[in-house]
């Protein structure tokens, strides 16, 4: 070992002082923009070029009107937002690679002078050859992107990049006796290396090798790729990713009723806000739908028994969301399915005043079923006027199909739910959004909507995390929820289709929220599908029924996730139980190799490209690993919606989400 190879792919270098002074001689004031670099090991203050430039600019007697370091200056969208704010017409001096400088010039398009204060320097690290691009990682290997890969014939050593003359047809004959290149005596002749490698593999190089075709990737083809890439990146909202969908596993399986377990555990905290207060004690008999936990504040919700039977105990169990011990009411099912007397159908709901309806929904424990579990009765009393209801049928998480199946099989109930919510909110405009990968659901909803002209169907192209409130609002209504704000700030309320279905049941059937549709799938699943499962059903019951695993333990190479693979929460204990926010239960294969040890950020910039909240997640990696929580707050960690895009794309496989969660917790504690 001994020597550590440090690779630094900084792509610019400040111009020489006399050249800079010459450039600056035409201006007397400028704004300085500098790029914080890409593909270099993360450093907090990578701006020595900027410091040097500031000195030279001051020396030249030029006034600096402003100086800003920008993360990835070539990011058209995010940097464009910064440039838009510049309203003066003072010349701009840019320190970045040629792409950044050209972007700024094109942005201002002749309306102000843009000075290039730096030269781009190449990334090709070979001292004889000028070709080659580095890969995503900070490695020494380069690829010339010639479009006709020869590596299969040359033993995996690239002659285009590594031969000083990029010869394809063997050595030039100029190598010295000890095998060094005649152009640069420090370097080995790459053709000798190729020969040795092939010899080692007992292979011979074929007689024929293709002549290089420089037209193999034509301008038109390149433009097509660029357009396609920019199109997928920019549609609807900034960022986002396209993970493997895996929806086909449970897509076509109709909803089935999961066998009602003999014993259930109802957590008292199944919603955002204060946990419910228990109303029962061990030994009490309860009926199906009976309230067993009373809501304990404004933002809170009651919980109900999902079976009839006897309360065994109130036990502390590992909560599936917080992964801490939380009280749960354990009930033994007597199999009688005796209904609580409070459950009464209500068909004439239109006659009831708004307050009464809200009371009913609160009493029935309705919360958002998309995963966040925000009490619906609170959402239905927005403190600001709203004019639009958005129905969220996106279900952008891979694997999950519970909303999809609900829309296919229970469209009428959902539409009745929409009517109730519409009346409560007093809105006239409704947008029903379904991602375009759910063809069957779209068709059924389209047909059902013929009688509801006020509901507009939107079918945006699939992209994760489209189902997140803020992205969906931007995509379907064009409104942008302000930083730290909520949907009602822009006059919108978003309801998940599952929630609307449970609102329908609460009103029309009088049924509290005691069961929901859950997608069960994953490795070793013998009965994957979409099941109506009672709240409080233990995960172990589902595992035993739907998966081929031994004695309800999670196999070593798998993890159990509640929710989807992107945002789902890894479960430590199979004795935890289904709550109102359980959208899915997946047994997912772990990444086969453990590479998630502490890797450092290499500023590849991918997390910034995919963050739908337009944050700069790589700061969370750096500050999170160092425990500098207040610095995370500075970079708006609280705005993060924990969609997991940054962690999914991270080329250093940094556990960003856990760092972000820690950062948020620490920010909360400080306030």
């Amino acid at each position: 070992m001994g020597e550590k190879i440090v690779i630094d792919y900084t792509k610019y270098r400040l111009k020489k002082e006399d050249e800079l002074k010459n450039i600056l001689s035409n201006v007397n004031k400028l704004t300085l923009l500098w790029c914080k670099k890409c593909f270099t090991e993360f450093r907090e203050e990578p701006g020595e070029e900027c410091d040097e430039a500031v000195r030279i600019i001051r020396d030249s007697g030029v006034e600096i009107a402003g100086c800003e370091g920008i993360d990835f200056l070539c990011n058209n969208y995010l940097t464009g937002k910064i440039l838009e704010l510049m309203s003066d017409n003072i010349p701009v001096g840019v320190i970045s690679c040629g792409i950044g400088i050209q972007f700024v010039s094109n942005f201002f398009n002749g309306s102000r002078k843009v000075l290039a204060l730096s030269d781009s320097i190449p990334q090709s690290g070979n001292a004889t050859s000028i070709v080659g691009y580095h890969g995503i990682a900070l490695g020494a290997e380069k690829c010339a992107a010639c479009g006709q890969c020869y590596l299969g014939k040359t033993g995996g050593i690239c002659p285009v990049v590594a031969c000083a003359k990029s010869l394809l047809n063997g050595p030039c004959g100029g190598a010295s006796k000890d095998g060094k290149c005649e152009v640069n005596k420090e370097l080995p002749c790459v053709w000798i290396e190729i020969y040795k490698r092939l010899n080692n593999q007992k292979r011979e190089m074929g007689k024929k090798i293709d002549i290089r075709d420089y037209n193999i990737f034509s301008v038109e083809k390149e433009k097509k790729h660029i357009k396609k890439n920019q199109g997928t990146r920019a549609t609807g909202f900034y960022g986002g990713v396209y993970p493997q969908e895996n929806k086909d596993i449970a897509e076509a399986i109709p909803i089935k009723v999961f066998s009602i377990p003999e014993r259930i555990a109802i957590f008292l905290s199944q919603h955002t806000g204060i946990p419910a207060k228990p109303l029962v004690k061990p030994g009490d008999r309860v009926r199906k739908g009976q309230k067993i936990g009373e809501s304990a504040g404004f933002v809170s919700a009651p919980v109900h028994s999902s079976v009839s039977g006897k309360v065994i105990e109130i036990e502390n169990k590992l909560h599936p969301v917080s992964q801490t011990l939380q009280p749960a009411v354990v009930i033994e099912n007597d199999g009688m399915e005796k209904l609580d007397s409070a459950i009464e159908p209500l068909t004439e709901w239109q006659q009831l005043p708004k307050e009464k309806l809200l009371d009913i929904l609160k009493e029935k424990g309705i919360v958002g079923l998309g995963g966040a579990m925000f009490p619906s009765s609170v959402k239905l009393c927005p403190p600001k006027p709203v004019d639009t209801l958005i129905v969220n049928g996106c279900e952008c998480e891979p694997y999950l199909n519970s909303d999809n199946r609900l829309m296919i099989e229970h469209s009428q109930e959902i539409l009745k739910g929409i009517e109730i919510v519409k009346k409560l909110l007093g809105v006239s405009s409704v947008i029903f959004a379904i991602e375009d990968n759910k063809k069957e659901a779209i068709e059924i909803i389209r047909r059902s909507l013929e009688n509801y002209p006020e509901v507009k169907l939107e079918t945006p192209a699939t992209k994760y995390p489209q189902g997140a409130e803020k992205m969906l609002i931007k995509r379907t209504s064009g409104r942008i929820v302000p930083e730290g704000g909520l949907p009602f700030d822009v006059g919108v309320v978003v309801f998940n289709v599952g929630t609307l279905h449970s609102i329908y049941r609460a009103i029309y059937e009088g049924m509290p929220l005691i069961e929901r549709v859950i997608t069960v799938a994953g490795k070793n699943a013998i009965a994957p599908g979409n099941y109506i499962i009672r709240i409080g059903t233990h995960f172990s019951d589902i595992l035993n029924t739907c998966f081929d695993i031994k004695s309800s333990t999670i196999p070593d190479d798998c993890e159990l996730k509640m929710g989807g693979p992107m945002m789902g929460i890894v479960q430590q204990d199979v004795n935890s139980a289904v709550i109102k926010g359980t959208t899915g239960l997946l047994l997912l294969e772990k990444y086969p190799v453990n590479v998630s040890e502490e890797n450092i950020c290499i500023r590849c910039g991918r997390c910034v490209d995919v963050c739908p909240m337009e944050l700069i997640p790589y700061y969370y990696a750096y500050y999170g690993q160092k425990g500098q929580w207040s610095d995370m707050t500075k970079y708006k960690v609280k705005n993060c919606i924990e969609c997991g895009c940054c962690q999914y794309i991270c080329s250093s496989k940094i556990n960003l989400i856990s760092l972000i969660k820690k950062g948020k917790r620490n920010a909360d504690n400080r306030d």
Binding site: I5, C74, I99, I121, G147, G156, C158
Partner: protein, 212 residues
Amino acid sequence: MLITEIKKKEDIIEIVKDKKVLVLKCYGCKEVYFPEEEIDSLLKEIKDYVKEIARFDYICREEFAEKYLRHLERVLKEIESVVVFSCGVGVQVVSKLIPCIPVIPGCDTHYINGFQGITSQDVDCQQCGECWLNITGGICPVTSCSKGLLNGPCGGARDGKCEINPEMDCGWVLIYQRLKKLREIEIIKKAAVNIRDYRLIIESGKGVKNES
């Protein structure tokens, strides 16, 4: 940034035919462009020769690739070659780590504009090491002129389009228009244009530094 295209089906079949191969699929750049569907359909056709398929991301990262290959140690003993679906960097990293086993690229690699992240750019930079943008109104003649001319237009443009490819704008027409807006035409007329110095590329582009 680098993107990949799958090689011709016949060429891959020719190589793997009657052999036992391990297939490595790198999907790290899936968000940029990675022909995963085409690869999967090809793999179905050659499934008789495929001993195992492994799907990883960022195999261009040597420390990851090393672990991936260690994980596949058992399989590596039973196969004759490894087919890697990744960019040229990934293939080179894998073959460096297993020099005794033939490594076959399944993809050709192309470059599209952009260095950072996964979003491609409208403009390109060839990193010539001597930025001309100050005198050319912020439009790069090296990349936006087909001939990379530094001393003005070649004279072959028609209606502002390049004579080499009529789909392309003539970079020098764009530069002229921009300079007109900036009222800087006179400056470029007087500017002396250096001859390109390719040494700047070689000398500065070391990339690799050794630190003890």
